[in-house]
């Protein structure tokens, strides 16, 4: 089966910032995204997430499959949106079956 090269952008970010990032993902024209609603972890800011009743430290993971151009734009824009917020973003390669879906 023939496949096409795409990029996968992954973002781990505090929940308070997620709506802004998802908004940007939609505006830039990605064909979709997937969200893992509750992750926890540790980074420069220290422990995040982990089941508190309040939202302050909640963290989500966002995943976007997109063409290389869009993916690189996303990488840069999300990186800018992370200023003052807890979060990371990175990129990797994937192969997909249908070119028109992503």
């Amino acid at each position: 089966m023939e496949t096409y090269r795409r990029k996968r952008v992954e973002i781990v970010v505090e929940r308070a910032r997620a709506p802004a990032i998802l908004g940007r993902i939609r505006e830039l024209g990605a064909t979709g995204y997937t969200l893992i609603p509750d992750v926890s972890g540790q980074g420069r800011r220290g422990m995040m997430g982990g089941g508190e009743v309040f939202d302050t430290y909640r963290t989500v993971m966002i995943l976007v499959i997109a063409q290389e151009d869009l993916a690189r734009t996303l990488l840069a824009e999300v990186h800018a949106l992370l200023e003052n917020y807890t979060g990371i973003v990175y990129l990797s390669d994937v192969e997909v079956v249908r070119a028109d879906h992503f």
């Binding site: 308070a16 910032r17 709506p19 509750d38 089941g51 009743v53 309040f54 939202d55 302050t56 003052n84």
Partner: protein, 337 residues
Amino acid sequence: MSDLLQLGLMNLVSPMVLSFALGFAAAVARSDLDIPEAVGRALAIYLMFAIGFKGGAALAANGAGGGVVAAMLAALLLSAALPFLAYALLRALTRIGPVDAGAVAAHYGSISIVTFVTGSQFVTGQGLGYEGYLVAMMALMETPAIVSGLFLARRALARQDGTAAGPARKKGAFLSPELLREILLNASVVVLVGGFLIGWATGERGMLMVKPFVADIFNGVLCLFLLDMGLVAARQLRSVKALSAPLLAFGLYMPLLGAAAGLGTAWLLGLSLGGATLLAVLAASASYIAVPAAMRLALPQANPAVYVTLSLVITFPFNVVVGIPLYFAAARALGFV
């Protein structure tokens, strides 16, 4: 004095306060005890709905009276004014910057529903009632403080540097629609006000239908929730070392000042002993749910380890364990009946 001690002891030896202590101790000892997050959130919604409903039903039963409008205005003012006091103290007596000071100030002007709920059980345990509209005052006190805190932080920022330093600083963006929604429609305001209105609208007939749920099991559910709060507070302890001694002290004297302001307001409004105690509790309490969420949106530069820790680990336990009986004793000593 021995009377005060006895009150404190009575408060301490209640299943609710001891459940908080149990959770706190378990987390300090690094037990793996854990109330699942989904359940903790649901318990919080239950408590807010039930306290709102009971307040509304009480209002329907006893009638509103003339003082209600004055009380609502007073609640708004109290919440809007306390952050100015808090901010001034923080800037004068601690070394945190204006952004963090504004954020912390917003927390202390706002209120903690769980502290109120614990206080209301204490008051009821003394055989006293309280004005039903105190629940409405609580709801109104949640948000003006946020606006005041943001105003203080941003005025300071604007002074510091003439140039913009953050997306929220653009002209006219002082209260973005996103932020306004967060402030006015956050879950706790909605459930509290909604429960209040439902209790008010359905009155005695409604209360008859749901009393076993909203009233009878309330204390027990509160025990479980405070167990969870104890766990959460103790797990936040690790961040205390980020706080300086003057900042920690602020977490203890600010509630006293708030309570005093609350009692003064209660005196002006002519509240009952129960009502005065609870208004003191509200003014003394600091938010750790609604305000942090707003701050992450509006003041992302401010450090949550400071404001969450201060209100959750210092002020919340202080109020629940020491403050509530203290404010009650003070109200009684001041002649409230």
